[in-house]
């Protein structure tokens, strides 16, 4: 059997590992246009502000690939999948000709691309315009900044704010612009967003919310100023576009695989072609909470899908990927934020319970019909994983031994469950799902 994995991030590497644990003899090849072996993608901002050493960004050390006999082709972009002949066409950076690789089972795990809005006066080839999705992006950005840089970031989502944090102490100023009325609008509600925004403002980051960039001024192919919808003009010598990502669907689409918002897969993560699986940010999954089709650009989800796809590719379809929901763990200047599920408290029928709310701490639970459906925690992590499990398992809150919304029970951990339920869950830990 020849396994071929296109892409070498969370989904790809976890698929490769899983295949190897199930099949010790077949060949496994990972092919990627990346220059580097699999790295912790969310760590690129840690690299930016020297919180990790370059050698620590890698997900596995080099021995891993030798030990597990996984071949990796880097700097190689897959141009085409020929599903009839079961081969791919790829092109390496150093060569001009296309090369061919054949496969028996193929995994598409090529993630997403940054959204690049068209803005008057802006050419994405300008050397002071950046995106922030790859280690290469981070290296390029780091080598371009100076102490006097005036940085403008478009987008106050996870990526935009992580870049802002990474740069704040190294440049003259950082301004973050977002159309929304609050930062991290898909992960936080107004109260929590306010806490984080204030904290970031204390670290020299400026915000221009409810604004967009209408056009940019440039000289000698460099952006010099951005003009906002509010009429404000901001001097800018580094512009970073971080308004979000879109699944990378080209390859699948050209090969004739079914695609919608993402690549369409069945519960076994198999595409419309039985020998091709897909996993990670390029895949469309079902949101557990809304039951709607959705694309999750989440490390956990991608790693999980990769593992399941790998298992099914090597063992036949028997491991199912269950529906997913949004969750995030992120920190800014030492302030930790954990959030999951529904965070928008304005939705009908959501009962929002605030357990704690201070200038630098928050714990808020969102409940719908006796089920926990979401939470936000700032500088607080007690029971976070238990809350996540309560959402995932759709546990009836009335079945618990303790009322999780009662302050007096805030020290109760895993024993929120009844004795029998606790025993059942502890036994489940031994079983491979």
């Amino acid at each position: 059997m020849r396994y071929l994995i296109v892409g070498n991030s969370a989904a790809g590497i976890n698929a490769a590992s899983e295949i190897r644990t199930k099949d010790s003899v077949s060949s496994i090849t990972m092919i990627s246009k990346d220059t580097f072996n699999t790295y912790g993608r969310p760590l690129i901002s840690y690299y930016l502000n020297n919180k990790i050493k370059p050698e620590d960004i890698y997900y596995h050390n080099k021995d891993f690939y030798i030990k597990h006999d996984i071949k990796v082709l880097l700097n190689s972009e897959v141009k085409e999948i020929d599903i009839k002949r079961k081969k791919i066409l790829f092109c390496t950076k150093t060569k001009h000709n296309n090369d061919i690789l054949v496969y028996d089972k193929l995994l598409i795990a090529i993630g997403s691309n940054p959204i690049l809005p068209s803005i008057a006066g802006l050419d994405y080839n300008y050397t002071n315009v950046f995106t922030f999705l790859s280690y290469e992006d981070s290296i390029k950005l780091k080598s371009s900044i100076t102490r006097t840089s005036k940085v403008v970031i478009l987008g106050a989502g996870l990526i935009g704010l992580k870049v802002a944090e990474g740069l704040a102490e190294q440049v003259k100023n950082v301004t973050v612009i977002d159309l929304s009325d609050r930062i991290m609008s898909s992960n936080l509600d107004q109260a929590s967003a306010n806490i984080i925004q204030k904290h970031m403002e204390n670290h020299n980051i400026k915000f221009q919310l409810k604004s967009s960039i209408t056009n940019v001024n440039n000289t000698h192919n460099l952006v010099t100023e951005v003009i906002l919808s509010t009429g404000d003009i901001i001097a800018c010598d580094i512009l970073i576009i971080a308004i979000g990502v879109l699944p990378n669907l080209n390859l699948a689409y050209k090969a004739g695989l079914k695609v919608n918002k993402g690549i369409i897969v069945n519960e076994y993560l198999q595409t419309s072609n039985e020998d091709i699986y897909a996993a990670g940010d390029c895949v469309e999954s079902v949101d557990l909470l809304s039951n709607k089709k959705s694309v999750f650009a989440l490390w956990t989800s991608a790693a999980n899908q990769g593992k399941i796809a790998g298992e099914n590719m090597s063992q036949g379809n028997h491991s199912k990927f269950l529906s997913e929901f949004a969750m995030n763990a992120i920190s800014f200047f030492g302030m930790h934020i954990l959030s999951a599920g529904v965070v928008n408290t304005n939705l009908q029928n959501i009962q929002s319970v605030t357990m704690k709310c201070q200038s630098n701490q928050l714990c808020r639970l969102n409940i719908l019909n006796n089920n926990l459906v979401g939470f936000i925690m700032i500088n607080e992590n007690k029971r976070a994983g238990i809350y996540t499990a309560l959402i995932r398992n759709k546990t009836q809150l009335s079945s618990l031994a303790y009322d999780i919304t009662n302050h007096q029970n805030s020290n109760v951990g895993f024993n929120v469950y009844s004795t029998t339920e606790r025993k059942r869950l502890l036994d489940l830990a031994n079983i491979k799902i």
Partner: protein, 152 residues
């Protein structure tokens, strides 16, 4: 693999396991120094169960899950399952993003006191023996093979 099992009906809630967990994970390996000089988070913790009739206790620690969510959630590759099935956290690689804490269904991972890494049970493999098991005065914590546990 062998795992630590806490026997709820025997636990007195004395918290000696926490004391010895800290000792085993200290640099000095000395019970006094570990508590007075080193600030360590215990990887085993006593939870209280309060009912109308009585208060009972049980000790909780990492279950070394067959399919550990924390490993998949880890963004840096610090959390891993070793060849013996033990889920370990490589402190050198951990960036304390708390992704593992967000997904552990048992609440068995804690942010370390230094805030730089997370703390969890590693079955004391580096220490050589599981000290919480050895020191429990009422044999409420045992190191058992998974299949053996099912029979008791």
């Amino acid at each position: 693999m062998k795992k630590i099992y806490a026997l709820e009906e025997r636990c007195l809630g004395c918290r000696l396991c926490e004391v010895y967990c800290k000792t085993a994970h200290s640099k000095s390996k000395n019970i006094i120094k570990a508590h007075k000089e080193e600030d360590i988070e215990s990887a085993i913790f006593i939870e209280e169960i309060i009912s109308e009739k009585q208060i009972s206790y049980f000790a909780l620690q990492c279950r070394h899950c067959a399919d550990p969510q924390c490993v998949k959630a880890c963004i840096s590759g610090a959390m891993y399952k070793d060849d013996d099935g033990i889920v370990k956290n490589d402190k050198k690689k951990c960036v304390s993003c708390l992704s593992c804490i967000l997904v552990c269904p048992f609440g068995a991972i804690k942010l370390g006191k230094d805030g730089k890494t997370v703390s969890k049970c590693d079955l004391c493999v580096d220490y050589g023996k599981s000290l919480c098991v050895e020191k429990c005065p009422n044999n409420a914590i045992e190191l058992l093979e998974e299949h053996y546990k099912k029979e008791i």
